[in-house]
């Protein structure tokens, strides 16, 4: 279009520059500081634009002297579990919701809807109790029905999932936002697709596996990445569910490093290195895969 856009383009450019500066500022400060040795840092007496030479030394310290490398592995496993559960369970459920004619559709959809509105952090107190003894609901049933007496099982079964990968991941995976995204996507597919598959001799399972799954690759990859990052950045729940450093994910480990030794002068360069260390995987992921993630989530239509 032919029109004068000079003033608005200048304004847009200024806004973008300021915005990017705001986003990058803490990251740049963290990085600059992470390149300093403790002595250099103390000598500077605060934030400077100096690029030091000690980044690798600091990294080596993090790598050998802290639990963060092991905790990074915990983060990878937990985040992968979260993303896998969220994608797989929501995929099969949404397939049922969209392509099956069943009276329960509304109820199932409603049940998943509520999990989106009440985040896990809200109910962390009682979730902890359940994960501490996952047999608790079974015990109630045993006690209420008297079955515990009859079968000799009693009603005091114990199975704690605290400090396990599944115990940390499962409650995080409950928020069923994927159902909405997949539902939106499935509804946009040609309506006759399952009919065509039926004419070709493919039943529901075959249709899901041969046709729906490959078709859904874009939203599946996007949501997987997104929930992986979401699982990675969780804090409150892993903090209470994983009490030992061995079981904690990296974000919790970093926060412990920062807050437990309050009385000492904080080793700021080391902490900043740690902060970068626990963040680089998801940030790299979002920077590289951004196009796929944004396109696949299809957030424009809600």
């Amino acid at each position: 279009m032919i029109e004068r856009t000079r003033s608005i383009d200048i304004a847009a450019r200024i806004i973008l520059i300021v915005g990017v500066a705001f986003i990058l500022a803490p990251l740049v400060i963290a990085f600059l500081t992470a390149t300093l040795s403790y002595e250099q840092f103390v000598r500077n007496g605060g934030i400077t634009l100096q690029v030091g030479t000690h980044f690798l030394d600091n990294l080596a310290y993090i790598w050998t002297e802290t639990a963060l490398p092991a905790q990074l592995w915990n983060s990878i496993v937990i985040s992968t579990l979260v993303a896998a559960i969220k994608c797989a369970f929501a995929f099969t459920a949404t397939f049922a919701l969209v392509f099956f004619d069943n009276r329960l559709n509304r109820i199932v959809f409603g049940l998943t809807l509520v999990t989106v509105m009440l985040p896990l952090e809200l109910v962390v107190i009682t979730t902890y109790q359940i994960v501490a003894n996952i047999a608790m609901p079974l015990n109630w049933i045993l006690a209420l029905t008297g079955l515990g007496e009859i079968t000799g099982l009693g009603s005091d079964l114990r199975l704690s999932l605290l400090d396990t990968y599944v115990g940390v991941a499962a409650p995080i995976a409950c928020a069923s936002t994927s159902v909405f995204i997949y539902r939106q996507f499935f509804l946009s597919l040609p309506r006759d697709l399952p009919k065509a598959a039926a004419m070709d001799g493919a039943g529901p399972w075959r249709f899901m596996w041969d046709i729906l799954l490959p078709l859904s690759w874009t939203p599946l990859v996007a949501t997987f990445m997104f929930w992986f990052i979401g699982g990675w950045t969780q804090y409150l729940w892993p903090l209470v569910a994983a009490s030992t450093p061995d079981a904690q994910p990296a974000v919790v480990g970093l926060a412990r490093l920062a807050t437990t030794e309050q009385d000492r002068i904080p080793e700021v360069p080391m902490l900043m290195t740690g902060a970068l260390f626990v963040s680089f995987i998801p940030v790299l992921l979002i920077a590289v895969m951004q196009r796929q993630i944004v396109r696949g989530l299809n957030l424009s239509e809600k």
């Binding site: 608005i8 919701l97 109790q129 902490l271």
Partner: protein
Amino acid sequence: MQKGFYSGRWTYAALVAPILVLIFLFFYVPVGLAFFWSLFLERPFGGGSQFVGLDNFARVLSDAEFWDALKRTAIFMIVAPSLAIGISLMLALAADRGLRGSSAARNIIIWPKAVAGASIGVVFVFVFNPFLGIFAPLNEIWPGFWNPRIDGTDAFITIVVAQVWNGIPFNFIILLSGLQTIPDTVTKAAVMDGASPWRRVWDIQIPLLTPQLFLTFVLEFVGTVVEAFGLIDTMTEGGPGGATTLLIYKIYVDGFKAYDLSGAATQTVILMLFVLIMVALQFRLEKHVKYER
């Protein structure tokens, strides 16, 4: 909902069972248990429980600290989302103009989504440190100008800034996607009607963006209630003097530090109801903001 094609009941059951078992065990049982406990006095180390009716609610609701935390939560819920969405909107409008370099900016603006609140909290503590951080020079000129360790307002501001930083990406993605789906023909029609680019921001883009703006508000409201925890725990630990103790942090302290399980469960119930009422209110509003595209 449109009618599905398949009808096998067992297949249907097999498909929905995994998610139902998962959310039943790890979501509905905990939520139900919170309601249950709010009516009982629970002893922390398995000492049994005693039905007390609404006593827990009476105790919590007469506690001034609870009201302070709720009030701070409400303020936080208004200030942080408004700032995050306002800034995201400006950034999205700017990025939508497709200037040279704007795709790089777009990429960077989304990075904070991948940084945990607790991780960036560690960084922001340092950035806002009164003696080492960015305001240290100002403190040298006017001693006591900035000190989030002593001044409650300063501390609250640091949490808000960190929350806004963390909250921009998601709102930005939603708003930018919304802007990009505004039909080209509408823009062209506005050009033919003589609307300048500035004019179109107000008359076309923002009005047509209302559904997305609405969505971001709903998500941000719920999000800020809980997301602030990682920031508070790493930056201020609720201080100074409780100035940054939001309800989510108070519940954590009451439940896991003071072992007041019934009190924590009761506050959980109140906070859940608070969130649900807010969401319900917003969905009532939604009827007024939908456009047929």
